[in-house]
């Protein structure tokens, strides 16, 4: 790794260093406060009652007994929710349902009481009479003409979304192809399993301004949603303050606002006291969202030399009963579909379909893992059919720096080739074959420089310096455990010649922090990093101007390093930075140093045809795995794993590795063990015993070689890495299983039962 600052030609002081997470010591001591730990004076506890049916009419609700229970302060039902209070970008989801329920997850009533126990008891006293309606759980069946309609206001269960693209001439390319493969893949429901469950505390002040402490990855967009709720409640022109406490994991689960947050607001308004709603684990499993389950039809072809000729994909996504941002995942799926490897002719069509299942949301990778599973699995099938080595076919088709893909993505830096090299070095794919042992490889592309999904992809930062050489930086970016605090502090410290200890990062409070679109799309290092860098650069300019006057040195000859300012030409001319700050402050027309900066990357909204440069830069990677498949039991054991990523520059390798390891193991769960089991819409495994996460016992030593391509637009060359770790994991495993025992599993997760069934079928 090269660790030289290209601007100064000197070694970096803090960039590239393995600096532990800034809040790790607090967390290690048990002092970090999560939503679980916050208790406000006079606080009441809210609880939510959920539907008993997947699809039913609510005939009658009787809340009188619940209301009469001592300690109960409020009971709300659908009729108490203003009509305009609706969630999700499709606005099809009121926080408490009225007249009809469409899934087991539907909220039908909520209670606020003095203790959680009383609130729970009150829920048991609410009497509801339902009239069951025919329900539908299979998205493909839900598309059929005579399927029961889930939302009467729509004529069909298929959402009216524009997910269709067609570039080049797929049909012609198919005819001209030397080899074509075709397959159907399916992927399951998995869920985030944040170790800290969801929760919120809402309170109104005497003027009906709202403060809400909530587990969110999107403080600014949540603020907008809550403002809309207040407006619907008749509270116009009020203020909303969103405070995000430390959260016990995000992974995309907190990219929308949820019923429990809006219900906490309604309850808090009804009782004029703080109301806290906190999920228990079963509720977390049942009432938070999943990754989109998909049915994928794919065809890919190549010419005689192995060059990809076309890719044709069709998908059906189970939207569930309501619409969250999850229904926009096809826009991100388009990225690997059009741009993972060079392929000129691409067609894609996706339908999001209402069912009476739980509704899906964003989850690490945002659709990319599903699409990449199908693409990378069929690429191996194609290689075999064409008689080309599977690593070779990836090299033949790899992306190059300077490429513009059919979707109009401009590839700036691209280390895919180096990533494939790194994988092959660790896990040779062409060695002699041992029985039951197989190797697999799969690559990825992901946005690495933000993603213009919303109108703005920006992030603001405000920076101030005090008289002692210390910095407070208020960033729009959100730390959810991934380490944005560090990245921000390291960038600012490097730029201002300070140490990380000198930087205090303040985030996740909309009263003091500027706007940001949210912690998603692996954008925080890049976007929030550039915002922090922008603010630091402005302050630096002022520092240098003062230094120049005081030291009598040209600003361009001045260097800030290790808390000192000095002349590069004459190091004798020097002064501690804190002294310089005091001189600036305590002189006539004195000045305190502060700056703000709003960075909105130069990426593009996709046009009607979905063309446009979605991200300023793209992250690439390749994963390799060696597995053992037990032909007796069907069990797949991961022996070695290598995850090579092009990260632009590793600002903090310790944290970077943590993101990769965590992503890979989440991906392994997706590939092998995890599944939310829904039976007729009802969650059957709402606990950690039956929802199989990897444990320390299953832990493997993962190698995470880093390829640094120094992206020209990234802060110090960095690109995003939050999500990529879990993107190509499943196909790498599926390809290794095929290599080991010759069966191709097309349905995730790859359980022992499925492997055994496939082996049996193969043997005939």
């Amino acid at each position: 790794m090269n660790n030289i600052n290209p601007d100064t030609n000197q070694e970096f002081c803090v960039i590239g260093k393995r600096i532990p997470k800034l809040d790790a010591a607090q967390k290690a001591m048990g002092r970090a406060e999560y939503i679980q730990d916050i208790r406000l004076p006079g606080m009441l506890y809210g609880k939510i009652l959920y539907s008993k049916f997947a699809h039913a009419r609510i005939v009658k609700i009787d809340i009188s007994r619940a209301k009469a229970l001592s300690g109960v302060h409020a009971v709300l039902i659908g009729e108490d929710v203003p009509d305009k209070m609706r969630m999700g970008f499709y606005k099809d989801n009121p926080p408490i349902k009225k007249g009809k329920v469409c899934s087991f997850r539907d909220e039908v009533a909520a209670v606020a009481a003095t203790t959680p126990e009383i609130a729970k008891k009150a829920l048991g006293l609410i009497e509801i009479e339902y009239e069951e309606l025919p329900a539908i759980f299979d998205p493909e069946k839900a598309m059929e003409k005579d399927a029961p309609i889930i939302h009467e206001m729509h004529k069909s269960n298929v959402l009216n979304l524009p997910w269709h693209l067609d570039y080049g001439d797929v049909e012609k390319a198919e005819k001209a192809s030397a080899f074509v493969v075709e397959e159907r893949f399916t992927t399951q429901w998995v869920t985030h399993c944040c170790l800290g469950t969801s929760g919120a505390i809402a309170l109104f002040d005497a003027k009906s301004n709202l403060t809400i402490h909530t587990n969110t990855q999107i403080p600014s967009l949540a603020q907008k949603d809550f403002l809309e709720s207040l407006k619907a409640m008749g509270l116009k022109n009020k203020r909303v303050r969103v405070i995000k406490p430390i959260i016990g994991g995000g992974f995309g689960s907190k990219l929308d606002t949820y019923a429990y947050e809006h219900i906490a607001i309604l309850l808090a308004h009804a009782v004029r006291k703080p109301v806290k709603i906190l999920f228990d684990r079963a509720e977390e499993f049942k009432a938070t969202s999943t990754r989109q389950p998909t049915v994928i039809y794919i065809k890919q072809g190549c010419d005689k030399t192995g060059k990809l000729t076309f890719r044709d994909m069709r998908m059906v996504l189970d939207n569930g009963a309501y619409t969250s941002w999850g229904a926009t995942t096809p826009s991100v799926m388009m990225m690997p579909i059009t741009s993972l490897y060079r392929v000129d002719n691409v067609r894609y069509d996706a339908k999001c379909v209402y069912t009476n299942n739980t509704y899906a949301q964003a989850m690490r990778g945002y659709g990319n893992p599903q699409a990449t599973f199908a693409i990378e699995s069929t690429l191996d099938m194609l290689a075999e059919k064409a008689g080309i080595d599977r690593v070779e076919i990836r090299r033949i088709n790899k992306n190059h720096p300077g490429d513009t893909t059919p979707q109009g993505f401009k590839i700036t830096s691209c280390g895919l080739s180096e990533c494939i090299d790194a994988v092959q070095k660790q896990i040779p794919m062409d060695g002699p074959k041992e029985k039951g042992i197989g190797t697999g490889i799969a690559s990825l592309i992901h946005v690495g420089g933000g993603a213009r999904i919303y109108k703005s992809d920006g992030c603001g930062a405000i920076l101030k310096m005090d008289d002692y050489g210390k910095v407070d930086i208020f960033t729009g970016g959100t730390d959810m455990g991934q380490g944005l605090d560090n990245i921000t502090a390291q960038i600012v410290a490097e730029e201002l010649g300070l140490f990380v200890e000198d930087i205090n990062v303040v985030h996740s409070d909309t009263d003091v922090c500027p706007w940001d679109v949210g912690a998603h799309a692996s954008r925080s290092t890049f976007v929030a990093g550039n915002a922090a860098l922008g603010a630091a650069k402005k302050v630096k300019e002022t520092l240098l101007a003062y230094g120049s006057k005081l030291l009598n040195v040209l600003p361009e000859d001045l260097v800030l390093r290790k808390r000192m300012i000095f002349s590069a030409k004459d190091p004798e001319k020097t002064m501690p930075i804190d002294k310089l700050l005091r001189k600036a402050h305590f002189s006539p027309q004195g000045k305190m140093l502060m700056a703000d900066f709003f960075y909105d990357p130069d990426n593009e909204n996709m046009g009607k045809d979905f063309k446009g440069n979605l991200s300023v830069t793209y992250a690439f990677g390749a994963h390799g795995v060696r597995v053992h498949v037990d032909e007796e039991t069907g069990k797949v054991k991961v022996l070695d794993y290598v995850a090579a990523h092009d990260v632009g520059r590793a600002i903090n390798p310790l944290l970077l590795e943590g993101q990769v390891y965590g992503g890979v193991v989440m991906g392994l769960g997706y590939a092998l063990t995890e599944e939310v089991i829904l039976k007729d819409g009802e969650t059957m495994n709402a606990n950690f015993r039956d929802y199989k996460l990897f444990t320390a016992k299953d832990a493997i030593r993962i190698k995470a070689p880093v390829v640094e391509t120094y992206d020209e637009f990234g802060p110090f060359g960095a690109k995003g890495i939050g999500e990529p770790g879990c993107v190509p994991t499943a196909p790498a495993i599926a390809n290794a299983v095929y290599d080991a025992v010759g069966v191709r599993i097309t349905d995730l997760p790859i359980t022992p039962e499925k492997v055994l069934a496939a082996l049996k079928k193969k043997k005939g």
């Binding site: 967390k27 469950t197 590795e657 193991v665």
Partner: protein, 164 residues
């Protein structure tokens, strides 16, 4: 029904009236305000609530508070020195990247402590085994295992230093 119990919490003798159905987790978090011990499931499935009772790691969410009578309890709050120095296990978790969101960390650290107190030379497999009941969704366990190994080495160095 309430029962008076006495126990030693992180070195201090304490008395408390506890209801018979209270769990140790409830006693710590809700009654005593010791929020360092976390609840991830309330069902004995995640290990976030791990504390040490008479040298053994237990899930505080399953352990009845009344059963604490006469026992010695260690929680995450008792690990750091009175001068604020982190315990070597805590320090290793910090240094090796064993902490991301941190929700599993108190439990992980307590499970590690119970192990290393008992078996100061625990190997990679022992550690994996001892932490099998502690779920972490963020780290993929790699850096957690490295943290515990580093802690073990740090502790044995310190013990070696003392014995010289």
């Amino acid at each position: 029904m309430t029962t008076p119990i006495s126990f030693i919490l992180n070195g201090d003798e304490l008395f408390h009236e506890v209801k018979d159905h209270w769990t140790l987790l409830h006693l710590l978090r809700e009654e005593m305000g010791l929020i360092g011990t976390k609840e991830g499931c309330g069902n004995g499935e995640c290990g976030a609530c791990t504390v040490i009772v008479d040298g053994l790691a237990v899930n505080a969410c399953l352990y009845l508070a009344v059963d604490l009578d006469g026992k010695r309890l260690e929680t995450i709050e008792g690990l750091a020195g009175s001068d604020g120095t982190l315990h070597p296990i805590q320090q290793s978790f910090v240094d090796e990247g064993g902490i991301q969101c941190g929700f599993c960390s108190p439990g992980m650290i307590m499970s590690s402590k119970a192990l290393l107190d008992q078996n100061p030379t625990a190997g990679h497999e022992d550690i994996k085994h001892a932490l099998a009941g502690n779920i972490c969704r963020c780290t993929g366990y790699v850096q957690i295992l490295e943290s515990v190994e580093a802690a073990r080495d740090r502790l044995s160095e310190q013990a070696g230093g003392r014995n010289e």
